[in-house]
Amino acid sequence: MTFVLYLINGVSLGSIYAIIALGYTMVYGIAKMLNFAHGDVIMVGAYVCFFAMSSFRLPPIIVVPLAAGVCAALGALIEAFAYRPLRQAGSLAVLITAIGVSYLLQNTALLLWKSNPRVFTSIVGTDVIKISGLPITYVTIITILTCVAIMAGLTIFTGKTKMGKAMRACAEDKNAASLMGINVNVTISLTFAIGSSLAAIAGALLCSAYPTLSPATGSMPGIKAFTAAVFGGIGSIPGAMLGGVLLGIIEIFAKAYISTQLSDAIVFAVLIIVLLVKPAGLLGKHAHEKV
């Protein structure tokens, strides 16, 4: 029975990774860059939730959308000021800038909110329910359900809506997309905004499950989710989902059955093995051009 419990907890942790990984993968898909500041947006989102709940006593139903909105704006702002001027620049310049933005966010957070960890109040309470004898927290259930809802929402958005299709068109060929009348800048901003609002949601869920919040909170989950995105096939939305969930499961199983200290090493070892066998990731594909 504990196996099932570990599995459920793994899926739940993996759901958080998946939600974060979606941001990495969507941004990579359209801007062809790794937004290393993405992990720190999680932290900003969590702080917005924290202060909205502790200082303003707002209910979670308002707090999470508020954090998502703030982070959406932050993501679009980062894109406009830090990345857009570098659109024609080499990938190394963009990478260094992204790392710079990451430090900027972390250090601004240190300055504003200090380094002492805050105790985050769960947005869904700390209740535990028993499902066929297994103690499962509300947070676990809500996290998994949120992840499913986000996946369904994104699938509909990219598959059925005009804006979502425009996003896919831009991801494939920006010049051709603008020749269709698509505003490429607006589409890229929108992608950053969506990815960053997902990071905020992930931040709220993460801190509800692991209730310490500090300016470094986003780093490790950010790196793990980035790993998950690569694992699943960077640029692929289902890939990010699959990669995230698998990563969470592997991490929890490694912690439970092998070693808590080694769990991260095991996670990354699995990643390396997968990439050796499938360099494009589990669901990644290389587009072939037809002549």
């Binding site: 299709k165 425009a166 060929d173 020749l179 269709m180 698509i182 037809k290």
Partner: protein
């Protein structure tokens, strides 16, 4: 016939490379105008500049009487200028129907069905494959898709960049027939080609481009007879 597109003294640079030098040309409503020239002459650069993807240093481009020199590409499409880009550039990972939908991006949703059916009537092949990914189409089908996609915006002027490139001779004929047919049904066309023979045979007027400069402009039948043009572009 009123002038629909007028480019005056456009100069385009890639860094230090002066790719298009003081080029002026115009297209009248209802015409097929062709821009011929060897590989690297600057043909694609000119079309990209008209579409707003590249900027001209000085000079001006006006379309339907409006100066579009500094209008962003997505706005230019909205004003009625569509381009079939070089190498087709269809969205390989989107279905045929989605590609066409993207072509009509700037148009109101209400007429979408009608526009789609109109393209399908012209290209029944695309209708058969509407749910297939564009990446699974043959080269000729992709070219039809690229043309159909451009038509979805119901353009006043259609610019085509080497639509015959890389196609088997039989398909090349077919593509030129389509272009001719589009023109007869009222489309104004600016056609860029390396296949000068074919292009001049359907065009009203032509411009000859060499190293970024226009060295000749004349009615197409005159260019077909021109000794220099014959020697350089028509294989004797």
């Amino acid at each position: 016939m009123p002038v629909i597109l007028k480019a005056e003294n456009i100069n385009v640079y890639y860094g230090a490379i002066h790719a298009v030098k003081d080029v002026s040309f115009h297209v009248n409503e209802g015409e097929i105008v062709t821009l011929i020239g060897a590989n690297g002459a600057g043909k694609s650069t000119i079309l990209k500049t008209v579409s707003g993807l590249l900027g001209s240093r000085g000079g001006s481009i006006s379309f339907l009487g409006e100066n579009i020199s500094s209008v962003p590409p997505h706005k230019i499409v909205e004003s009625g200028l569509a381009q079939v880009p070089e190498g087709r550039a269809v969205f390989l990972q989107m279905t045929v129907e989605e590609n066409l939908e993207m072509g009509g991006f700037t148009r109101p949703k209400s007429g979408g069905r009608t526009r789609l059916e109109r393209v399908f009537t012209r290209f029944p092949r695309l209708k058969e494959r509407r749910c297939q990914l564009a990446g699974t189409l043959s080269g000729g089908e992709q070219q039809m898709l690229a043309i159909g996609r451009a038509l979805m915006s119901e353009p006043r002027l259609l610019m085509m960049d080497e639509p015959s490139m890389g196609l088997a001779p039989i398909l090349v004929e077919q593509i030129f027939e389509i272009i001719n047919d589009l023109n007869r049904s009222g489309s104004t066309i600016l056609l860029v080609e390396q296949n000068a023979q074919m292009a001049l045979s359907i065009a009203d007027r032509g411009y000859v481009l060499e190293n970024g400069e226009i060295i000749k402009s004349a009615p197409a039948d005159k260019l077909l007879e021109d000794d220099d043009v014959k020697k350089a572009y028509l294989g004797g």
